[in-house]
């Protein structure tokens, strides 16, 4: 079983490269295929006035991610309670416990858990699913390969969270909820006053802009952390596999493919879960600190 799995993993890493190798690479643009992975072509163009709501690769991955996270919820959480817990129930309860104990109770005050637990738990499961889908080779890509006369899209790895617009939208939701909830719980005047720490009056002109800037820096750090982690992970894997094509040396695969597989395992085992957890935990901490300011 283990051998089969590792063989499948290697095949999944090598198969996309064989499609890439067929492409005539010009001398200047040898490394170009890596950045082309992040070019989003419109598959189903939808334009509403100035809004561009076209369905492209990232949107397809997002839709798939939404579907899969709904399925995870339904399959793992809607369990018929029987005599002994089944494995499905155990997995579902583990996820629930992580969301409850590690994420919600660490950041949110006790009175707000009922209202905001669903939001942070959804964030965690959704981001985990989208990240995880990004490391499974799926036939969703712009390149086509002809197998037995049928044109099929090549297998590729791409995460929707490795585009900035997706993570920025998620971070914007947390940003808006933080301030709405802060104003609702404390009143506008008291909430905005709680941003300013107690310092000597002389320092205030310096501190106030910094604190306001800090609120917006949260938005940037929250979105760029997730985006850059996923982007860098995919870039590392593609770069190592791509070295074979760039340097035009097949024997490089002896080094490059295990290195890529190592990075792949690191990303799948650690980074995917950590990033989902971090995003949800930080959202909970931000919302919690807006509801109950320290000052």
């Amino acid at each position: 079983m283990k051998r089969l799995l590792s063989a499948l993993l290697l095949a999944a890493l090598v198969l996309p490269t064989s499609a890439l190798a067929a492409e005539p690479a010009t001398k200047e643009d040898k490394g170009a295929f890596i950045s082309e992975e992040w070019e989003l072509h419109e598959w189903v163009p939808i334009h509403l006035g100035p809004l561009n709501l076209s369905i492209n690769k990232a949107v397809a991955y997002l839709l798939l991610g939404a579907l899969c996270s709904c399925l995870i919820g339904i399959v793992l959480m809607r369990v018929k309670l029987g005599r002994g817990p089944t494995r499905r129930q155990a997995v579902g309860e583990t996820i629930y416990e992580v969301a409850q104990v590690q994420v919600a109770e660490q950041g949110l005050p006790t009175k707000a858990i009922g209202r905001w637990f669903p939001y942070v738990a959804t964030l965690m499961i959704f981001i985990w699913t989208v990240n995880m889908l990004g490391f499974i080779p799926l036939p969703l890509s712009d390149e086509k390969v002809t197998i037995a006369g049928v044109e099929l899209p090549t297998l590729a790895i791409f995460a929707a969270t490795s585009t900035l617009s997706v993570t920025l939208a998620l971070a914007l939701m947390t940003f808006v909820f933080t301030h709405v909830e802060g104003i609702r719980a404390n009143g506008a005047w008291r909430y905005f006053k709680s941003w300013i720490p107690e310092v000597p009056k002389v320092m205030l002109p310096l501190i106030i802009p910094l604190e306001i800037l800090g609120q917006f820096m949260r938005l940037i750090s929250l979105s760029v952390r997730l985006y850059a982690n996923m982007l860098a992970g995919h870039m590392l894997i593609l770069t190592f596999v791509g070295l074979i094509i760039v340097l035009e040396n097949v024997f490089l695969a002896i080094v490059a493919v295990p290195a890529a597989a190592l990075f792949y395992l690191f990303e799948v085992v650690i980074v995917v879960s950590i990033q989902a957890y971090i995003f949800a935990a930080l959202s909970a901490i931000y919302i919690g600190s807006a509801i109950e300011p320290e000052h």
């Binding site: 040898k30 490394g31 750090s221 982007l231 990033q275 971090i278 935990a281």
Partner: protein
């Protein structure tokens, strides 16, 4: 636009070579700092668990939070470097 930042293509043009060196230096120095930080976090975690093994469960969450916050610093450097590379 993004196409040429990866490999040997940069060496053909002096300006691009400079940019490539700057990008690599930025990421390298950034990962130096993050390496020290992550080492610190796990070192402290080992010490803490060695002293009070019963606190392990509570500390694990904080440990991973600190790990992710520190690790992200490298990627800010990477994104900054890529932005500078593409825009300048």
């Amino acid at each position: 636009m993004l196409s040429s930042f990866f490999f040997l293509a940069a060496a053909e043009d002096g300006a691009d070579a400079g940019k490539a060196i700057a990008l690599a230096l930025g990421i390298g120095l950034g990962s130096l700092g993050a390496g020290i930080g992550i080492g610190n976090i796990f070192g402290s975690m080992i010490q803490a668990v060695a002293r009070q093994p019963e606190l392990r469960g509570e500390l694990t969450g904080i440990q991973w939070l600190g790990f992710a916050l520190t690790e992200a610093v490298v990627f800010y450097g990477l994104i900054g470097g890529l932005l500078a590379y593409v825009l300048v």
